[in-house]
Symmetry: C2
Subunit: 425 residues, 2 copies
Amino acid sequence: MVRAAMLDTHSPTTLIATMAARARDAARWLARSTDAQKAAALVAAADAIRAAAPAIIAANAADLARASANGLSGALLDRLRLDGPRIAAMADGIAAVAALADPVGQVIDRSTRPNGLMLSRVRVPIGVIGIIYESRPNVTADAAALCVRSGNAVILRGGSEAIDSNRAVHAAMVAGLELAGLPAEAVQLVPTTDRAAVGAMLAADGAIDLIIPRGGKSLVARVQAEARVPVLAHLDGINHVYVHRSADPAMAEAIVLNAKMRRTGVCGAMETLLIDRGYPAAEALLRALAATGCTVRGDAAARALLPTIDAADAADWDTEYLDAIAAVAVVDDLDGALAHIAAHGSHHTDAIVAADEGAAERFLAEVDSAIVLWNASTQFADGGEFGLGAEIGIATGRLHARGPVALEGLTTYKWLGHGTGQVRA
Amino acid sequence: MVRAAMLDTHSPTTLIATMAARARDAARWLARSTDAQKAAALVAAADAIRAAAPAIIAANAADLARASANGLSGALLDRLRLDGPRIAAMADGIAAVAALADPVGQVIDRSTRPNGLMLSRVRVPIGVIGIIYESRPNVTADAAALCVRSGNAVILRGGSEAIDSNRAVHAAMVAGLELAGLPAEAVQLVPTTDRAAVGAMLAADGAIDLIIPRGGKSLVARVQAEARVPVLAHLDGINHVYVHRSADPAMAEAIVLNAKMRRTGVCGAMETLLIDRGYPAAEALLRALAATGCTVRGDAAARALLPTIDAADAADWDTEYLDAIAAVAVVDDLDGALAHIAAHGSHHTDAIVAADEGAAERFLAEVDSAIVLWNASTQFADGGEFGLGAEIGIATGRLHARGPVALEGLTTYKWLGHGTGQVRA
């Protein structure tokens, strides 16, 4: 395997065009590779990362020292930090992706036309995927593994604060892939921290087939606003739990508390609780939520139920707190809940708690979100929980893939026709 | 059903935002409607168009008179013309779409998680679709029917030269839909011929979910270059037929002549013929192609086979003629054909003629096009020929839908979870 030639980092546009052209060649190679080749390459990459742990920790120390000197806060430093267990988890994650079923080559459907032409739709890799992420260096390994497993070449652009860690993880991973015979250009890391390289990736329509941002809201918003390349992402997870009048109180309390408080910083966390005016145990529910330490901000009707909670203002209904804060509105009925979600939801994950099957079925049918749940916590919004294996992200757009995006979402299909000389009349 | 309130056409952005908001409401209505309701509404729309034939012909006469006065050519006038048979065909087309199976509600897959949570992926409409088209007024009916059948609201923006015809077709169609109880806002026609309305549609990210251009290359190119909204389209159909050395000469001749000459103006027509250096009947194939009246432009090796053909220059390999012209290159072998297609193809439709199954399977696997055929004419690239029913277009992008896009391509999915109180650990 020929080592990548030097990259000219002077012009971000030229840099990305060069990387994308190499990625396209690698993608052609990957599209021809077998399930076993891709799996073996990822196992080799996982081994290489384990073996490179001392080098990765040393590189990470340089990032951490720079970040400390730049005054980064404790939480951000923790995101950036790699240690033995985290590197082992990264390698295990790659090995777990290696063990997932390969979606490429799956026949989606097949038919034989009256003229004998046999048509089939077969899953194929998308091609060249760009991942734009922030300070967590483990994304370098996670995202690359998912792309390679599904036969895609990937261009990674991590945060500047993690550049040394990302380089070390990338170098180890590529060494492993090459050992297994994959081209180094299957997984490329943008070598510069120049922010213009992100702009060049977003503008590379036709050269990069799909961009997936992994990070905070400002990153996702920039990517969605600027990209000429299709994007899979979610900006907000303003998720609702609607407690219908028919809900079992114990179930409602368990689901609401889990949806809000299990982890408050995940995109599947509940942000707004909608309580049906006819739900008999509303006050107890609010007391239980407040008793967890959650700040509860209610509308007038909710505060009438429990005056000790805070008052919500208009902005609360459109806010993703990602914190131990919940907005609470009392709605007249199912239609009120549907209208609230249609007005304020972010098409991510919404749930109803109800014993009434008719109400639940209407909620499932009419809420226009990627994931709609009946009698289950919104915190299940996760590719692993859905049985998909590791996910590359959750998408709230309406095209291509919706909800948790795992290997299948990183593929497309082509139509294959097997004929015996058919011509069209 | 309340009639649409007056639209302010002064600001294109406000106009499109207002139309899109009404379409979103209608889309919510359509998403709840049943298969039978949608089918009945389209049957009513077809009937209404048949009944309105005199009014449509009168409106069309105004367009034709204006077009003649503006010096439109015969072919363009013919595209614009509606007469009794064409209106009947339009109505029949709507009725045929009504008879297609509804993709909405189909369960793509289903699983039960170890905790008992039952997950399913269910097809749902995309939402609000924008169709931007040119002078053929039948697109008004065809595109609207496909969108309504799949539960989507549609905003139609036809060419200014067909505005009177489009208004008449649209009015009849909406009258039929309303008779069947559908909201008028399910199918809206942009009421102005202001070209800025197209720009406003292309910029309406989040309000319009998908744009499909229907028309010539300059329209598609503008849409692809400007759109912030996702686009399904194909710009070029630079389609190849590769005649492998193992091809049966009679089959090769039949397929090449059909692929090029059956209809030269369709996007599935062959534009470039690649002949394997080892194919023994190359000269006869070139003679047969030239004998159909096709202008043949060959590389040096092709002209060595048949000196009477024209010389191709570099631009020929990247040209979609849509005419009785074919470029011909002699390639060394399968790898040469794959390299030529990778360099010059447009990811639309490519075919191999071969008796050698190994060569054919490599071609099918490695050509990165929406449709790849073995021993069949490229002119089959058509939703009807694929058994999909009427198509809204052919897409050469890699995301969402690829190849002929029919009803299924106008849907997305959501994840539904049926639980019994599950919370996440």
